[in-house]
Amino acid sequence: MTLAVNIAQGASNNVTFRNRIINGGMVIDQRNAGASVTANNVYSLDRWLAISDTSNKWTVQQNAGSVTPPTGFTNYLGCTSLSAYTPISTDYFGPNQRIEGYNVADLNWGSSSASPITLSFWVRSSLTGSFGGSIQNSSQNRSYAFPYTISSANTWEYKTITIAGDTSGTWLTTNGIGFVVHFSLGAGSSRVGTASTWTGTSNVFAPTGSVNVVGTNGATFYITGVQLEAGTTASPFEYRQYGAELYLCQRYYTSLPSQGSFFGAHAFSTNRVISSAFYPATMRATPTVTSASNAYTYFINGAAYTSSASGTTANLYGNLIIDITVTATSGSNGVISLNSTISLSAEL
């Protein structure tokens, strides 16, 4: 029996983890659990940032409109225009993913040995015509505006786009932004550029003449199966196990649920109680921790005290340091429970 093994390393189309996009199948939605959000520069589905240079022009939702996804997929990212808006010159709209530099370092962009990439995805819109997006570096001073055509309204279409590696510019290769992959829902006159060529013009988000989805009230744009891989050929979408995909997402965002969590705690003074918890993944950077001021209850000798403020922080090593202001007896020991979700973000 012969066993074929792909042993190629680096900028190649590896059998596993060839897709540099995280959550390209739009399965993970830790923040919103499928709820619709207005796309005012917020993360929607995990790893997908919903950009609106002018507020309140579109919404984003996992499986918006409840259409049947392409065969083999169960989820998609759904965008819906909220008005018939004509972008001003500096506007740009759309979902994008900021890929960490570590995950594209092998492509050698910014050097003479830059590798080509191929972007593939399934897309469906209520509009037809020439759509577009862009690949940018972290400084947004290297851009490639890619076009694609949607031929039939309200029909899933599969697209592949091969892009020559950029031999110029600075492309980060550590824990900063490596690439930005942007799908345009609209862009103003100073945010578009020549299609299918690298440019040093700043902030190019789409080819000139692309469809403005935000220009039609109620227009829809759905996308899934997004894959960015090395090479000039699009391979089948790389399905990762749910747990693996979730873990990849948790490098950038995670949360502790409000129900069922108790942590041992100690009162360092009459109003300050400290506890500790662990979160699941090593994050990209020291995370921002968000929790409500009354997110914690301190239990001591059977009595419950709700926090009035929190300065909960986290370190890089999976450790959350719960630090709350609450009535307590100095030196007491008790337990803390969570009244609401604590979120940790180290997004790019």
Binding site: F268, S269, R272, A285, T288, T313, A314
Partner: protein, 52 residues
């Protein structure tokens, strides 16, 4: 608006008052980068309280 804070071991961080987020002084954290831009615009955070 932001407020300076200190952990029990006197490590500095800031609270973003709009959503009570604790932002570490980590140059790789994008919220901290936004805080630095806010400072560059001439703004000043509320002072930290002394540890108790």
């Amino acid at each position: 608006m932001y407020k300076l804070c200190k952990t029990l071991t006197n490590q500095e961080f800031v609270i973003r008052l709009s959503d009570n987020a604790s932002i570490p002084f980590d140059p790789d954290n994008t919220d901290y980068q936004a805080y630095l831009r806010w400072l560059e615009e001439g703004n000043t955070p509320e002072p930290a309280e002394e540890n108790q």
